[in-house]
């Protein structure tokens, strides 16, 4: 099911002539029950693909928003097993929306790659992004994921030249994630004009859809990225909504989902008036 679910979603959106909106939220943020409510609400609010972070104590590629989200989740006892529980519960009501897990290597090493790949696939996970597991270290993980039919989604970055790109796209499937800025998540802003040629380069080399993330905070920015990429990913801006809602004692899921709606709407409208690609 797994790779097929991602491929089917991108094929459908291509037919519609629009980019995907990918919403990233952290498992267990601010707590397991609220996170599940958010997760279940994401497709209805307009998320075409869901990225679910599994928390790690030392997230070296994250800026402050996602660092804090991971801290909140860990403080409430979220685990990798708990993350898969959330995925299982999500799949009870949604069989079509691709769900990608995103996190760091060490919790996966602890679980064991082969067992984790099987358990993740059984829970309904379609793909995995492991931030600190570059192609040089990923073969054992890729073997395990292949056996379970889960996509290993790779990151290409502004430092990825054409030679390096060949290494990056080896054994990847589903889509390629283009990191739009050299930096951590949620700090710098992505520039669509600067990103466009790289998206084209990655698309051509991989033959896969290209999602762009790491610097998209506003509907306007999401729309401009959606004009050049196959998907726009927003994460830090959503987990910041969690933090603010908690601070202001507001309804967390309502606040996050309303932000998702505005971003998704912007992505849907982005190519209206443009020739469909």
């Amino acid at each position: 099911m797994s790779k097929a679910r991602i491929d089917a979603r991108f094929a459908a959106l291509k037919a519609e002539g629009r980019a995907a909106f990918i919403a990233y939220v952290m498992a267990g943020d601010p707590d397991a029950a609220t996170a599940l409510k958010i997760l279940k609400g994401l497709p209805g609010a307009g998320a075409d693909i869901v990225e679910l972070g599994f928390p790690f104590s030392d997230p070296m590629a994250e800026g402050p928003p996602i660092q804090r989200a991971a801290q909140r989740a860990l403080a409430k006892g979220m685990t990798l097993a708990g993350t898969l529980e959330l995925v299982r519960a999500f799949r009870e009501t949604d069989g079509a929306t691709p769900l990608i897990l995103m996190g760091y290597t060490n919790p996966l090493v602890t679980w064991g790659y082969a067992a984790f790949a099987r358990d993740a696939a059984a829970a309904g996970v379609d793909g995995l992004i492991v931030v600190d597991c570059p192609p040089e270290e990923a073969d054992p993980l890729a073997d395990a994921l292949d056996a379970a039919d889960v996509s290993l989604i790779r990151l290409a970055t502004p430092t990825t030249d054409d030679e390096r790109l060949k290494v990056v796209i080896r054994r990847t499937s589903g889509f390629v994630y283009y990191v739009s800025v050299a930096g951590v998540t949620g700090v710098k802003e992505a520039d669509a004009a600067a990103v466009a040629p790289h998206v084209e380069r990655v698309r051509k080399a991989s033959g896969l859809p290209v999602a762009v993330g790491f610097g998209i905070k506003t509907p306007e920015r999401a729309a401009s990225i959606a004009q050049v990429a196959d998907a726009a990913v927003v994460g830090s801006a959503l987990v910041d909504e969690v933090a603010e809602a908690v601070d202001l004692n507001e309804d967390v899921s309502a606040r996050v989902l309303s932000k998702v709606e505005s971003l998704a709407k912007a992505v849907r409208r982005a190519r209206q008036g443009l020739t469909a690609v």
Binding site: M60, G63, Y104, V109, E137, A144
Partner: protein, 411 residues
């Protein structure tokens, strides 16, 4: 690697042949960094291989080590410590007499020359006790490069003299408040800076840890300690020592001492980890004795972690040893049985600190005092005709406030 904890490998014929081309010491090491950094890590590996083989680079480095750092450091027969313990002769390798007061400058001098050779114009570093931060700030001042040092906010508080020293040397010290606000968090923050400023920034890692090639490069640069020790020992005693020992946090001073002796199987290699409040408690910093293999900060190695694979906080009186991991070469030397890793508690290290001051007139760094806390056991085990060399990796002036505090005194 497989996801299962690495199993002890067979003993290799040549211990100095590691790491392999993938930066592995057996199952340990590797390059677990975000993709943005991968091209830089590859460039760095190539640049180090070229510099290492370049006689002009080595000559330049050698000149600075002699005339700026003050090498060779003495190998000193600690007569009164030897008499006190009544076992093997104890020699101290006096790395604390280097410029800036610790072994850290050996590595910094090599890496700053490499950074300039690579055309980098901005230097970042992480520091725990502040010794590496001071050494980095020093070489940056010497060569006129801007320097940012990340330091856990907790460490900034307990190592104030070193923070001020770094400021005097023109470095900007950025306190890190995320996580446990100690060395591991400083390293996270330095990695975040590096990933953001890839175009001009050189990350000067202070320990034999992190992604390949750092464990190899830092070891190569610290191996001057072991090479000198070998020569000095041959000149003074006409033979190799029976054991060499050093404290281990990330493990750069230990691997620097051990490496030139790796293939001399008659020389025992002994590292001493920080046991904090004790190995029976969860407040220690002993990655090998109290942790298990995992991935953090770019390499697979022994780590303090919970059953979920979340990194747990290390605890030690010594900021320089207060790190939940250990360099990957130590992890491998432990698994293959070539080196032995003991532990010393905060209290034992404080006692050793005082003893060394009283008997030898030397204030050791509280880090080095962890090795001193076990030197009596090792000296007695080796016996009267034997020789033990201990790396006195740093001086203790920076620690007097901490020691006074633990002794219940105000200074």
């Amino acid at each position: 690697m497989t996801a299962a904890p690495p199993s002890p490998g067979a003993r290799p014929n040549d211990y100095t042949a590691y790491p392999d081309a993938n930066g592995r010491f057996g199952d340990y090491g590797g390059r677990y960094v975000p993709e943005t950094l991968m091209p830089l890590v590859h460039d760095l590996g190539a640049a180090w291989a070229a510099a290492k083989a370049d006689p002009a680079f080595q000559a330049e480095l050698g000149g600075y080590l002699t005339h700026y750092v003050g090498r060779p450091s003495p190998l000193y027969f600690a007569e009164r410590l030897t008499a006190h313990y009544g076992g093997a002769k104890i020699y101290l390798k006096r790395e604390e007499l280097n410029h800036t007061g610790s072994h850290k400058i050996n590595n910094c001098m090599g890496q700053i020359l490499l950074a300039m050779r690579m055309g980098k114009t901005r230097i970042i570093a992480e520091t725990g006790a502040g010794q590496h931060g001071v050494a980095t700030a020093t070489v940056c001042a010497r060569f006129g490069l801007p320097c940012v040092v990340y330091m856990g906010a907790v460490d900034v508080e307990r190592q104030k003299p070193n923070v001020f020293r770094m400021n005097l040397l023109g470095a900007e010290v950025r306190p890190v408040t995320s996580g446990s606000a100690t060395l591991k968090d400083a390293m996270n923050e330095a990695l975040r800076d590096w990933v953001t400023n890839v175009h001009d920034t050189y990350y000067l890692i202070g320990s034999a840890a992190g992604p390949h090639p750092y464990p190899e490069m830092v070891r190569d640069l610290q191996a001057v300690i072991g090479r000198e020790t070998r020569e000095q020992m041959m000149a003074m005693e006409g033979r190799l020592p029976d054991a060499v020992m050093a404290c281990v946090g990330g493990g750069s001073n230990a691997i620097g001492l051990f490496h030139p002796f790796l293939n001399d199987e008659g020389v025992r290699l002994i590292g001493v980890e920080a046991a904090g409040d004790g190995m029976g408690t969860d407040r220690h910093a002993a990655a090998i004795n109290g942790g298990r293999p995992g991935v953090l900060h770019g390499n697979m190695t022994y780590l303090l972690q919970d059953k979920e694979g979340q990194i747990t906080e290390a605890h030690s009186i010594s900021a320089g040893l207060d790190y939940p991991g250990i360099g990957p070469e130590h992890a491998w030397l432990h698994d293959v049985g070539r080196a032995t890793y003991l532990t010393a508690t905060d209290i034992e290290s404080l006692d050793a600190f005082k003893l060394c001051a009283e008997l030898e007139g030397i204030l050791p760094a509280i880090e080095s005092a962890h090795a001193l806390a076990r030197v009596g056991d090792v000296a007695r085990e080796v016996g009267k005709d034997g020789i033990v060399v201990l790396n006195l990796s740093g001086r203790g002036d920076k620690d007097v406030a901490t020691v006074a505090n633990h002794l219940g005194m105000q200074i």
